[in-house]
């Protein structure tokens, strides 16, 4: 009975008793969710256009952030470093397309997936070789990002909002809107959607697959850089971020592999769910449940809706 009470009643009593704390937890969940959503967005972009499950997205986040910090440490102004980091991501996108994707065209998806794991190993080695393995701090202030915090008095308590987190949420929103406009209004965006729809048909109307893939990888690189800045500002820029990036997988399951809004909503669900569960129920299991809870949500979700919230429904019976 006590166990049942602890599972079903006590957490809600606690939530009701200290609503300010609940709000704080929800806010933390929202921030974590935004970051998961941003990583997932990078995955979705590449998956939509080429059907490649880009495992290297996580390391691209680390790599782009390291490049930015590295250029700044070399004595360049912050905005010049940002521009140069973008140039590096463009070069990376071009090289990936030229040396990895193009020779592997038409291979089974497992092979492409393995190739991106190989790519992530390569980037880990390259990143550590150039920048060293130790964590670095992000140049938050130099980039003009706010660093203070606001305390809101509410429900007889208070909620602390970091300005940086607010900025992160706004930047994420802008990024998503820009991507949506890019996909629906521009010539290249339409070509991208055509490629996503049917490779052969797109080829036959004169769309260059190679060019499209390079552009998509560059777009994923931009998203990676934005994620890297935000995440790096919250903690440090380190290679541990890679494992966190794997959390984007359950986000994708929830949202569907091909849906941009799905990635956002999936990220938020995982972010909220994870923080709430960790704070209110994690104690029963000894804590640290954040590491696997997202996957379990995805697992349960898969049982009922295998195509995700916004994914394309594929009916197949076995």
């Amino acid at each position: 009975m006590e166990l049942l009470y602890n599972i079903f009643i006590a957490p809600f009593v606690e939530m009701g008793a200290t609503p300010d704390f609940l709000l704080q937890v929800l806010w933390e969940g929202f921030v974590a969710g935004t970051l998961y959503a941003l990583i997932a967005l990078g995955f979705v972009l590449i998956f939509k256009a080429s059907g490649v499950f880009n495992f290297a997205q996580g390391i691209m986040v680390v790599f782009s952030a390291l490049t930015l910090v590295g250029f700044y440490a070399a004595g360049l102004p912050a905005y010049v470093s940002l521009f140069l980091a973008l140039v590096v991501m463009a070069v990376l996108a071009w090289s990936v397309e030229r040396f990895v994707m193009r020779p592997l065209v038409n291979q089974p998806e497992l092979i492409l997936f393995m190739a991106t794991i190989g790519l992530s190993y390569f980037l880990i080695g390259l990143g550590e070789f150039i920048f060293g393995g130790e964590p670095k701090s992000m140049i938050t202030e130099e980039l003009g990002l706010p660093t203070g915090s606001t305390t809101i008095d509410i429900f007889g308590g208070f909620v602390i909002l970091q300005h940086l987190d607010i900025a992160a949420a706004i930047i994420a929103a802008i990024l998503v809107i820009c991507l949506a406009l890019f996909f629906s209004k521009t010539r290249i965006g339409r070509a991208l959607r055509a490629v996503a729809d049917d490779h052969q048909a797109a080829l036959s109307v004169g769309i260059s697959l190679n060019q499209i893939w390079a552009i998509v990888w560059f777009a994923a690189g931009i998203v990676a850089l934005a994620t890297g800045i935000m995440w790096g500002a919250r903690s440090d820029v380190s290679f541990a971020l890679q494992i966190v990036a794997l959390k984007a997988l359950p986000v994708l399951i929830l949202g569907g592999f091909t849906s941009v809004p799905g990635a956002i909503i999936g990220g938020l669900i995982i972010g909220f769910g994870e923080k709430l569960f960790e704070v209110y129920w994690g104690g029963l299991l000894g804590g640290g449940v954040e590491a696997w809870f997202a996957y379990v949500i995805a697992l349960i979700f898969l049982m009922f809706r295998p195509q995700g919230l916004f994914g394309e429904k594929i009916i197949e019976r076995v």
Partner: protein, 358 residues
Amino acid sequence: MFYREAGQFKSTYKADQAIFPILQDRMAIAFYLAVAFIAVPIFGSDFFITSIMIPFLVFSLAAIGLNILVGYTGQISLGTGAFMGVGAYSCYKLATIFPDINIIILIIASGFFAAAVGVLFGLPSLRIKGFYLVVTTLAAQFFLEWAFIRIPWLYNYNDSGAIEVPQRETFGIIVTGASATPSVRYLIVLAIVVAMTWVASNIIHGRIGRAWMMIRDMDIAAELMGVRPLYAKLSAFAVSSFYCGVAGAMMVFFWLGAAEVESFDVNHSFLILFMVVIGGLGSLIGSFMGAAFIWVLPVILRAVPNFIGIDVNAATVEHLNFMIIGALIIFFLIVEPHGLARLWALAKQKLRVWPFPY
């Protein structure tokens, strides 16, 4: 010319169905086994046996396990590291609870625990496939990693949180623990790996293995022809996890001597997936080749700078290692997506027809 079956006539069905139908192949296998069982323990240095041969064999077994799942049944898994961990932790618990039972029996028995866990996490495979399955196996990976830390019963409530291998004797010879000699540990690992490879080969060439391959090639057609996906998929998960569990138990008991959660993390899952893909999906000999490639190559790369006489610090070598392995994986996938096993098959074909082009 040298490698040709001309003149080797088969007069029974048994001979026709042999795994190694060509005499030269049988001689080569006998030769390799002789080298592995006799020459390596006699002539190999302790470093060679403990740092190269034992891990190579352990990873080969794990790669065979994963190959059964990925290569033969077509279900991608990233939970190999955790399944190895289940084997290791259950073997440790069994060794604590039953100190008098022969440790080799316990190692095999621990495979059954891994198999049970594997079946549990394999259940979603009945509904989903592809990358969705990757996520469920990642769930297994992270959940089990968490369990290895948070359930102190698993490591007997000791302060370090690590499992340490107790000393055990078999027929009066010390086989585990710090005072067991490398050659004894090596020979036991080798014997288990050879025996289990033989069993795996028989399973794969039999009815169960064929059902797995049918599921891999086309699940709908397989079901129409009377293969039950439930049994085929779950048996693949069970056998695969059994092999991984035994490999994990051997890894701790005969190689590392003590282990923490880090020995079973997601990077090991990737490492073994690399071995399977580089070696060749759906090939037993490929599992050995892949394990040799992925495990031995970094050891060689580490030795190269000293050998040439360039002074490079260890960290730089490690980073270059990562880059070289990453690049080689991409290179191999581009040049030969079917892995080293296919290269080996091509080489054999070339040898058969030599000196003619075809």
